[in-house]
């Protein structure tokens, strides 16, 4: 359970869990495009998209961010009093088409401590793979979360 001063459960590393499913719809694509100011015809113009590489409109990969999923495995972290989303990698693997049914599976990829200018921090890296109804991966995200102690009124 313990590693250095950080308290977490390393046994969750690599354990995969399904955290949700959703459908890709034309309406969802249009709503997402409006939210991010998307005008790329791959996502917004059926006529141009039909003549493009995918034969029709596809979903912008970031649409996976617009749907809340479950949390997945709990590393039972007891460290610091502040947590924030420090970074993310999004890999685009294959197109998502309207009518696709997407399943998201997550695992904790890494848990590690690091000491920086502001003191000790604990990093948790969670990788989510989104797959279509054929089981083919379409998008993968790796989110890094940082936990650290924040002194009120301090840095």
């Amino acid at each position: 359970m313990a590693e250095g001063e950080a308290k977490f459960d390393p046994s969750v590393i690599g354990v995969e869990e399904e955290i949700g499913q959703f459908d890709i719809t034309q309406e969802q694509i249009a709503a997402y495009c409006a939210a991010v100011g998307e005008t790329n015809p791959l996502y917004t113009n059926e006529a141009i998209a039909q003549a493009g590489p995918y034969g029709g409109i596809v979903a912008p990969p970031g649409i996976v961010h617009s749907i809340s999923m479950g949390n997945g495995p709990d590393a039972k972290i007891r460290f610091g009093n502040a947590a924030f989303h420090a970074g993310e990698k999004m890999e685009v693997i294959a197109p998502m088409y309207p009518g696709d049914h997407i399943t998201a599976r997550i695992h904790v990829k890494e848990l590690y401590e690091k000491t920086g200018r502001t003191g000790s921090m604990l990093f948790e890296v969670r990788r989510t793979i989104f797959s279509n109804q054929k089981g083919e991966p379409v998008v993968a995200t790796e989110k890094s979360f940082v936990r650290r102690e924040v002194v009120p009124g301090g840095e």
Binding site: Y32, V36, L42, P61, K89, V92
Partner: protein, 150 residues
């Protein structure tokens, strides 16, 4: 400096050292639309993303833009850059500072490397968002491909 827009760029037209940028405002309307999307629970309660009061309780001067929305906007700019026939392979970013509602952001793309792998013409680029205060709330790297005129 070339302004980015949805047009088709080709591998022959782009090389290391080239810079591109696009300026836009990430408005409260954008954030509200994102939070209101079906299945998005981020907007289901008063929080730092949609409420002045909740943001102030968290020590912020005003509501902020969810990090994933900033990432998605950066992706949009790169997607516009590669056009219909290009492919964005990945975008990896660090969130350095908060983006506030109605911040005017300039997205900058600096091409750092390129090459060919068979018929694939790949590129790497540094990407960042800069606000009107000169801060860079998001920065990272992108991998993408462009078609050849061929």
């Amino acid at each position: 400096m070339v302004s980015s827009q949805v047009e088709q760029r080709y591998a022959e037209d782009v090389g290391p050292g080239d810079e591109f940028e696009e300026t836009f405002t990430l408005s409260t309307d954008h954030v509200q639309r994102f939070l209101a999307m079906p299945g998005n629970r981020l907007g289901s309660s008063q929080n730092r993303f949609n409420s002045e009061d909740a943001a102030r309780r968290d020590g912020l001067p005003g509501p902020i833009v969810p990090g994933v929305l900033s990432l998605d906007v950066a992706y949009r700019v790169i997607g516009d850059f590669v056009g219909v026939w290009g492919k964005v392979r990945s975008l990896e970013v660090s969130f350095r500072r908060s983006v506030f509602h109605n911040d005017t952001l300039t997205s900058k793309i600096l091409i750092t490397d390129s090459g060919e792998d068979g018929e694939r013409h790949w590129f790497k680029a540094d990407v960042f968002l800069e606000n009107e205060r000169g801060e860079r709330p998001l920065q990272g790297v992108a991998d993408f491909e462009l078609p050849a005129r061929g």
